[in-house]
Amino acid sequence: MPAIKVNGEVRVIDIEDDTPLLWVLRDTLGLVGTKFGCGISACGACTVHVNGEPVRSCSTTIADVAGKEISTIESLEQAELHPVQQAWIDHQVPQCGYCQSGMIMATTALLAEKPDPTDDDIDAAITNICRCGTYARIRKAIHAAAKTMREG
């Protein structure tokens, strides 16, 4: 039975090894902020962090992440909203909102690596799909969040 650490809490999961992390998070642990979009790593709606790296949880099995630390959208808000979440609100980014958990998790991973990303960095790192087409606001919000985080 694999043990994983989800949002700081150790969870022992009694489930078949080939079960995707996405479905463990959503159906076993009830963390439904992470979304199912395509099932084949093509859209990024299911993006979470595994040991700090952005990972598409629909195509990552529970066996792949045994012993690792997983962070989901639910872990971002602490005493107050994460600067990326705040930037998303300030720029009124979401429309339907379905892809935005994945977008935000991809963004927080990018900013951890590159505190001042260029547009090209953003294009290369954030390959998620937003069917509502909120990309222009996403880009603005990423730059704004980066600025806030750099200025601490």
Partner: protein, 752 residues
């Protein structure tokens, strides 16, 4: 006004549908306040069908339209809050129950023929009939970019009525004239004494008062919310993962279902090995469906694995040889020799073309398109005896309720539909297929809640697609180069017919339908001899409403061909259009503004180009200029889109801009990549790699300018999509001299 034969056909068909549905009419004596009161929690008191207030003064607004990203929850709440004079911070929104009081009258009025005066701002007999019919049908739906147009009067009225009742209640409590009591930010103040009472204090006493007949409404100059960029009420929860979509619904002991259905259009279940599935991990039940099987299990992953492993055979419904090639051939045959409906016939175009002359002829084509909502299709259902509950991200709860009642054989009153947030809709979620399937599955496990979830592949292969279409133009210019005669014949399937036949298979609906010719027959240009026809084509591919419906292809066809005529006449495409719009100053204003914002007259560098398009849809005028660059590998990059919108009065400008930005991206994904093809009766595409989308790395710059004139309120959700493809295609011609007459551009090797 005499009813035209066309309108008679339409109304008879819809009224027939109403009778078949077993309508729930709005009873004249019914107290509609009780409709919302039934949903009350924690001491909430309903003042009318749209407003509940609790003791703390929190105001809950009933939203009978689906929030699918267009910001409608916020906009509807703004209409109510404006007239209620409540502090915006104490306003929340709740999904409304299904009831005729929430019918979307505007959605049905959109079906009136183009020539009906209603579309020109008159209150016609047809419009009144459609309003009545919407109530008969309890037509509570979200579509046709109608929500604000429909809600503008009733929801402001609801706010004003409630405010009047609260003021009256305060005046009675203090025993003072109501005229001496002033309401602001949820507090009523007596002018003389300075005494105050909150809406929370007064809600219960106000609820027993008679609502006023015609409460005075504010002057626009006094608006505090309407017209302001109010932050959306749903956005915070959409950044924290707290927003609940259909896929997130959870009840105790809930089961999960996945399907394995016939890949071929119209296919059905032939046989399957039920025993093999029963022993798989977590499997609770296997349910035979008309089109395949559903596996019910303790988790979706278990259900999906079992469904995928099924040993199963299907019948192909006689469509096993259907292919895209055959479909396009059939469309062309229908252009040549099909039986068309004529939607517009000014002057005598046929007579003009009988005389020899220099005709300009062009053929255009677009493919089937999938909606590809980010949230895969789903519906959660529970059936207990005669009672049905449905939790669903959907655009038409009245339809889901009816379909569920038909399957379970119960009254519609026994079906509850709870509408969650929609992870995209775009017309797909007006369809009842998921509700029907979920209810059938739930009936097999009585008393249990079952969440049916389709995979992305299920969604892409079993959509109700935007119809493929072909369009033939023939035009002749006068001695000044202006179009003297214009003939357009479009051929394709008709979404309304396909949609209706999915509900009532006996419906023939061989009658004209705006959704097939909209955007062509109603174009504004002054052309003395103008004929527009559409040939309805019958094919087994299910087609439906895809963001902007007929406009999605007719804008591409007409605005591209208009560009061809300008080129033929040797004139500037912007000024060419200008000269044909003398009778339409509102169209002209939008066109002029976009040309000015785009610096149309400034020359572009070699290897770049710009194109223009102007299009009216859903009551709004939109003009776009697209700027492209030709890359070294001869592919095209869309650099910038400048867009001007006249949608009449704007409720929430930032939401309107966001909708236009999104609709442009939606149109761009379709123009660049969108292509659903068929081989051996089945859809070839299954997931995003085969049905690509615009992403951050190929986003153009988008500039949106709102230019509201005095026009009546228009729609917003769809109107930004139609002009994108023609503006882009016209820009490509400007840059390369290559005329694009077929979408997507990837087919012509123009996309890197």
């Amino acid at each position: 006004m005499a009813m035209s034969r066309r309108k008679f056909l339409l109304t008879t068909a819809v009224a027939g549908g109403a009778l078949a549905v077993g309508y729930v009419a709005l009873k004249p004596e019914e107290d509609t306040r009780l409709v919302f009161q039934k949903t009350a929690r924690g001491g909430e008191v309903a003042l009318n069908a749209w407003i509940k207030i609790d003791a703390t003064g929190t105001v809950t607004v009933a939203a009978p339209r689906a929030e699918m990203g267009q910001g409608i929850y916020t906009a509807l709440a703004m209409l109510v809050a404006e007239e209620l004079d409540v502090d915006w911070k104490s306003v929340r929104v709740e999904d409304a129950p299904v009831h005729p009081v929430y019918a979307n009258r505007e959605m049905l009025r959109a079906a009136l023929p183009f020539e009906d005066g209603y579309h020109q701002g008159e209150n016609t007999s047809g419009a009144q009939f459609m309003g009545w019919l919407a109530e008969m049908l309890s037509a509570q739906g979200t579509g046709g970019s109608t929500s604000i147009r429909d809600a503008w009067e009733p929801m402001r009225n609801a706010g004003a009525c409630a405010r009047h009742m609260l003021v009256t209640a305060a005046a009675q409590k203090w025993n003072v004239p109501a005229a001496d009591c002033q309401a602001a930010d949820g507090v009523i103040t007596h002018k003389g004494s300075g005494k105050t009472l909150t809406y929370g204090d007064l809600a219960t006493s106000a609820s027993s008062l008679m609502p006023p007949e015609n409460p005075p409404l504010k002057n626009a100059a006094d608006y505090k919310l309407i017209g302001k960029a109010v932050p959306r009420l749903d956005i915070a929860d959409k950044t924290t993962g707290r927003a609940i979509f259909g896929v997130d619904v959870k009840t105790d002991g809930m089961l999960h279902a996945a399907v394995n259905v016939a890949p071929v259009m119209g296919g059905s279940l032939k046989s399957y090995d039920k025993d093999a599935l029963g022993g798989m991990p977590g499997v609770v039940a296997v349910v035979a469906l008309p089109t395949g099987i559903a596996v019910v299990a303790d988790s979706w992953w278990h259900a999906k694995k079992a469904a995928d492993s099924a040993v199963i055979e299907f019948n192909d419904g006689g469509n096993g040889s259907l292919s895209s090639e055959g479909i396009y051939k059939l469309l062309e045959e229908n252009i040549q020799s099909g039986d068309p409906f004529t939607y517009r016939n000014d002057g005598d175009a046929e007579e003009v073309f009988e005389h020899n002359g220099d005709d300009i002829i062009a053929n255009y084509q677009v493919p089937y398109l999938a909606h590809a909502c980010m949230e895969p299709m789903n519906c959660t259902a529970r059936v207990v005896g005669d009672n049905v509950e449905i939790w669903m991200p959907n655009q038409a709860p009245f339809l889901m309720r009816y379909l569920a009642s038909r399957i379970v054989d119960t009254d519609v009153e026994n079906v509850q539909v709870y509408t969650t947030y929609l992870g995209g809709g775009f017309g797909r979620r007006a369809e009842g297929d998921l509700a029907e399937q979920a209810v059938r599955i739930a009936m097999a496990v009585p008393g249990k809640t079952v969440k049916l979830l389709w995979s992305r592949e299920d969604d892409m292969r079993h959509d109700m697609y935007r119809p493929a279409a072909r369009s033939m133009f023939r035009a002749r210019l006068d001695d000044k180069g202006r179009p003297f005669a214009w003939f357009n014949r479009i051929a394709g399937q008709v979404p309304t017919k396909s949609f209706t036949q999915r509900i009532f298979d006996f419906a023939t609906l061989d009658m004209p339908d705006n959704t097939s010719s909209e955007g062509s027959a109603d174009m504004p240009y002054a052309i003395p001899n103008l004929q527009v026809q559409h040939v309805p084509v019958t094919l087994p591919v299910p087609v439906g409403f895809w963001r902007s419906v007929g406009h999605s292809y007719n804008a591409f066809f007409t605005e591209s061909f208009m560009d061809e005529l300008a080129v033929k006449a040797g004139q500037d495409p912007y000024k060419y259009r200008r000269d044909l719009l003398a009778a339409h100053p509102d169209y002209l204003a939008v066109l002029d503004r976009v040309a000015s914002e785009a610096d149309w007259d400034l020359p572009m560098h070699s290897g770049r180009g710009r194109g223009i398009a102007l299009h009216e849809s859903f009551g709004s005028l939109v003009a776009q200029v697209a700027e492209v660059s030709v890359l070294p590998d001869d592919t095209i990059q869309l650099d910038r889109v400048i867009c001007v919108v006249d949608c009449g009065r704007v409720i929430n400008p930032d939401t309107v801009v966001a909708q236009i930005e999104g609709a442009i991206v939606f149109g761009l994904s379709a123009a660049l990549y969108g292509d659903i093809t068929l081989t051996d009766g089945a859809v070839d595409q299954g997931n995003f790699p085969d049905y690509e989308m615009v992403r951050l790395n190929n986003m153009p710059k988008i500039e949106v300018h709102l230019a509201p004139s005095g026009r009546p309120i228009g729609g917003i959700g769809e109107v930004g999509t139609p002009p994108l493809a023609p503006a882009l295609a016209n820009a490509i011609f400007n840059a390369t001299g290559k005329r694009v007459r077929e979408l997507p551009l990837s087919k012509a090797g123009l996309v890197g």
